[in-house]
Symmetry: C2
Subunit: 204 residues, 2 copies
């Protein structure tokens, strides 16, 4: 079955562009990867890349392959709990235990080869380009933090800061034991901090 107004051929083209972009961003880094080179790798004309994506920043966000739908994260939380994770889903306002959040967040990057290569490309891109930083911040606000239903922006900012810092230590600075500890161990060490940021009285 095809959806009206979107032919399978277009989907294939878009998918080929995203795959080529992901490979280029991981291999060359954000700055060195070019739309022209990505188009060549995907076997399409550069104008087609511009047809699907509003510039390199938008292409980069698509290539990140983050869970674009918060329900994906909710499903993962459900699966982690059902699988008997040592960390139950919390019953605070956020509904996710800090240790589970740590494992899910780091787990997103763990599947790369080598592990964390997408996070590394992301960090490089965000620190190199204010436009990418804006795109990623907006992405997080729209698609991720909206899942963590609470009205205090300090909580999502602090949670975000701690999660990014852990990924930074594991994949970029490679500080031991963060670099090689099992995710469950990192979740156990940092989980209580995430719980605090999500649920504690921040003005206390």
């Amino acid at each position: 079955m095809t959806t009206l107004g979107r032919r399978p051929g277009n989907q294939d083209t878009r998918s080929a562009i995203v795959q080529a972009a992901r490979a280029a961003f991981i291999e060359k880094g954000y700055q060195a990867a070019s739309i022209r080179g990505i188009a060549r790798d995907a076997g399409v004309d550069p104008s087609l890349v511009h047809h699907y994506f509003d510039g390199k920043a938008a292409l980069f966000v698509a290539a990140l392959d983050l869970p674009a739908d918060p329900r994906d994260i909710k499903d993962q939380v459900g699966a982690a709990t059902a699988a008997g994770s040592s960390s139950p889903v919390g019953d605070g306002p956020v509904g996710i235990a800090g240790s589970v959040l740590v494992e899910l967040f780091l787990g997103q990057w763990e599947v790369d080869d080598p592990p964390g290569s997408r996070f590394r490309a992301l960090a490089q891109a965000v620190s190199s380009s204010p436009a990418v930083a804006d795109a990623v911040r907006q992405f997080l606000a729209d698609r991720v933090w909206s899942l963590l239903a609470n009205e205090d922006p300090r909580r999502s900012a602090l949670v975000s800061a701690q999660l990014v810092g852990l990924a930074w230590g594991r994949y970029i600075l490679r500080t031991e034991p963060l670099a090689s500890a099992p995710l469950g161990e990192i979740g156990r060490l940092a989980g209580p901090v995430l719980d605090r940021y999500m649920t504690a009285d921040l003005d206390g």
Copy 2:
């Protein structure tokens, strides 16, 4: 007074190179800045840059102008306490309250114009180059973490992850309220977490 074997002229040359490098790294980013361009800006031959610095990564670490001597940090802690900071120096094994550590760490980057530009250049360099990441990790281990006298590497890894995450949120992703909150407010929010990482029973 001059030190034997090091003429003032050499110091001036080295200092000119470091200043030109700092400006280039902040303005162009780590990847785009070149030793040839830095030498030109400093008015010296590129071979002189190589004479003083073992490559771009070493030049970058020098240009960061981080407190190379832990005593500098100790002095700053003493000054912050004497100035009546709201956060007393802690009496845990580390001897620095988490809130003071947050303010000192972020304060290092706050003096830039614009604030955080050196941190941004650092983040870009570290995520772009494993050699720079190695250099910075070694720098932190030798010059900074050795100040925080404790024997559990998990503590310094977790403290580092939290501090980097806060700077990342403030200067790079620019997540509110981290982006514009006074340092004292961020210290108050994240200080207890740093205290936990530095002093709590991590296996409890």
